[in-house]
């Protein structure tokens, strides 16, 4: 008997039902080996969200700091493309079961339309993938002893651990850079009802099982949290977050000071003196093709307004550069090694509204235009709120930004001196220190 469950428990309590089925159908073999507590190596399992590339950089930086505090610590990663691309380059150990993870990035791309991604609905419609990936996690930690699990926006982990608290068998640290699902204006009452319902469930989870998250870390500062409420009769997001999270400050994944002198960096990267360099990038996903095309269309006019303009368009791993139009003098590249160095060296960047790239630009004090994806509540509300606090970037609306509007904005912003609030450089160390206490 499943107490409290309704008529379709396999859909509503799938972890429990799956495990019951597995045990009845073909029980997993009993492990032939057990390691005494005292003989165990200190190990952590890091689950990094694969939606966007940003998490990989910051999680790698946090992992480095953790190893500094616990040199004997072994870290395994349960991760998928494109996070694995970053981790493999660094020689991180990717757990072989990662191979079983269902791909979240491809799903998110499949949910997007022209510069449009209904992020909340896309994540809801990922329920089957999330559950499947939680079951992979379950099997890994059933067979392998870890002292600590770290989930950076690993939604499946956080949700199903709260739904099945008996599955928690290690210390668990949760990281996120936003709190609260928010409805888009045109979603009407129904979407507001749904986001409030999701928020309410999360709040109830934390209230009922405070022991599940041993650490909840907000990647940012209290002022970065939006002032909205979670929904009718629910608390204010800022109040609740301050009560339930520790704040690590922003985690850049690199130290801008290590980039050195900007003039030398420019020379090193092949940018000539007097050139006005504009980098156009949409990150690692395939969602940004429409923005790239629109910015490319603005190039001739922008070049007239800024004769020294050198525009470099980075297509990224999931957009075919041959599918993009060309102009004389315009560079289109598939991949740029250490893009963050180019972003640090440029005179202007044109980007989507994702947090990582826009905060990199903020930390490097570069002017930039950003275009939040339509219906992407995180980019439209949470990220925008944060950037406004730093006074960084110029928010553009894809719907109204014609090539001519973009060309004029490029001309106005390129090479401009900025007065952003400074971004801390110790975020990774602070996050790691908060996590290290659990080891």
């Amino acid at each position: 008997m499943l107490e409290g469950s309704g008529h379709l428990p396999h859909a509503r309590d799938p972890v429990k039902v799956n495990l019951l089925l597995r045990d009845f159908v073909s029980p997993p073999p009993r492990p032939s080996r057990w390691v005494r507590g005292k003989s165990r190596r200190k190990r952590a399992l890091y689950v990094s969200s694969p939606i966007g590339l940003g998490h990989a950089q910051r999680d790698a930086a946090i992992a480095d700091e953790l190893r500094r505090l616990h040199p004997e610590l072994e870290i395994d990663w349960l991760a998928q493309h494109p996070v694995t691309a970053v981790l493999e380059k660094r020689g991180e150990r990717i757990h072989p079961a990662s191979h079983f993870l269902a791909n979240e990035s491809a799903h998110i791309e499949s949910e997007s339309a022209e510069h449009d991604l209904h992020c909340f609905q896309a994540i809801r419609r990922m329920d089957e993938i999330l559950l499947s990936n939680f079951m992979v996690f379950h099997d890994v930690v059933r067979d392998d002893q870890y002292d600590l699990w770290i989930g950076d926006e690993a939604w499946e982990l956080d949700y199903y651990l709260h739904e099945n608290p008996e599955q928690k068998r290690a210390a668990y640290a949760w990281l996120t850079d936003f709190v609260g699902w928010l409805p888009m204006g045109d979603g009407g009452e129904h979407e507001a009802y749904l986001t409030a319902d999701y928020n309410a469930e999360m709040i109830e989870h934390i209230a009922r099982f405070p022991r599940v998250r041993d650490r909840a870390i907000f990647v940012g500062n209290p002022d970065d949290v939006v002032s909205d409420s979670f929904g009718p009769d629910l608390p204010l997001i800022r109040d609740w977050t301050e009560e339930h999270f520790a704040f690590a400050g922003y985690v850049t994944g690199f130290d801008p000071r290590e980039l050195g002198d900007r003039e030398r960096l420019r020379a090193e990267l092949g940018y000539r003196e007097g050139e006005q360099v504009c980098i156009v990038t949409v990150g690692g996903s395939g969602v940004g093709g429409d923005l790239l095309r629109r910015v490319i269309a603005s190039f001739p006019e922008a070049k007239e307004l800024v004769p020294a303009l050198r525009m470099v368009v980075v297509a990224g791993p999931r957009i075919d550069p041959a599918s993009l139009p060309t102009h004389d003098g315009l560079e289109v590249r598939t991949y740029v090694h250490e893009l963050y160095r180019h972003l640090a060296a440029c005179d202007l960047a044109v980007v989507q509204g994702g947090l990582t790239t826009s905060m990199e630009l903020t930390a490097n004090r570069r002017p930039f235009l950003y275009f939040p994806l339509r219906h992407h509540f995180e980019q439209n509300f949470h990220v925008r709120h944060r950037l406004e606090r730093y006074g960084s970037g110029r928010c553009m609306d894809f719907a109204t930004a014609s090539p001519s509007v973009i060309a004029n904005a490029i001309a106005e912003e390129i090479g401009r001196e900025v007065d952003y609030q400074p971004v801390e450089t110790d975020g990774a160390a602070r996050a790691a220190a908060l996590i290290a206490e659990l080891l």
Binding site: S5, L8, R22, F24, H107, D127, I129, V136, E201
Partner: protein, 271 residues
């Protein structure tokens, strides 16, 4: 006759799956095309049976990817929904037909034996399959089984007046063929609100209503009027011919089939 198709092409609204079938195809039995899918491989097969045709095999979406990592998984859309045909006559929806379909799918996929897992109305057809072909069924799992064991269901009275038009249709009064035909989507909304009594089940309800909209009220009326087991005696007769291990899973807050009737099935099955 069996046809194998490229992995089941997505319907327009279907969300990304965590895993796609390794094989998929149709088997035609008595003029009705039945769509099946196989995932994974191995000596052991788990056969996820169709339930009431108000939903189709996607309702197993949370089980398939996990189970397929550990064994071979077979499922099919029951007649009346999904990619299978929707015959019009009610006799086409007798439980014996579903059981015979299941056997045809086992044959079409060269599945000698399987652990048969059913949900709700999938129970009777699974019992029939196990009773008639014990050599093909290794074990039986019943989730929220819908078999005529006490206590009576909350919609009992409405079910008796299923064909009578009413002045108004409220709550289980919506369990009525006239209401289904005229307000199909609202009936689905109501029914699945009763299926998912747990708070915060918006996504599960939406999924189920969406699957329900892939068939028609007329088809559901036919499934409802087709004869089924009427009493405990019928269940006992079938169980007497079943000799494999049985697992019953039932939620205490099940508002469609009382948990006690699942417990009774487990008891009769010797558990």
């Amino acid at each position: 006759m069996t046809t194998t198709v490229e992995r089941g092409a997505d319907t327009a609204s279907e969300q990304t799956r965590a895993r796609y079938p390794d094989q998929a195809g149709y088997v035609r039995r008595d003029g009705v095309n039945l769509y099946w899918e196989v995932y994974g491989s191995g000596d052991l097969t788990v056969f996820l049976m169709p339930t009431w045709s108000i939903i189709h095999s996607r309702h197993w979406k949370m089980q398939i990817p996990y189970l397929a990592r550990h064994c071979r998984v077979l499922t099919f859309d029951g007649r009346g929904n999904g990619r299978s045909d929707r015959p019009a006559e009610l006799d086409a929806y007798r439980e014996e037909e579903f059981a015979a379909d299941a056997l045809a799918v086992l044959d079409a996929t060269a599945t000698e034996r399987a652990v048969v897992v059913s949900l709700s109305r999938g129970a009777e057809r699974s019992l029939l399959l196990a009773a008639q072909h014990p050599d093909r069924v290794e074990k039986l799992v019943f989730i929220a089984p819908a078999v005529p064991l006490p206590p009576v269901v909350s919609r009992h009275r409405a079910a008796q007046e299923f064909e009578e038009p009413r002045d108004e249709y409220v709550d289980w009064g919506k369990w009525n063929r006239h209401y289904w035909v005229e307000n199909y989507e609202d009936f689905l909304e109501f029914f699945f609100s009763q299926c998912f009594t747990e708070p915060h089940s918006t996504k599960q309800r939406e999924d189920a209503v969406g699957w329900g909209l892939e068939t028609t009220a007329e088809t559901l009326v036919a499934t409802q009027l087709a004869p089924r087991l009427q009493d405990e005696g019928g269940v006992r007769d079938l169980l007497a011919r079943v000799d494999c291990p049985v697992l019953v899973i039932h939620g205490s807050e099940d508002a469609i089939r009382p948990c006690a009737s699942g417990a009774r099935l487990a008891e009769l099955a010797g558990g």
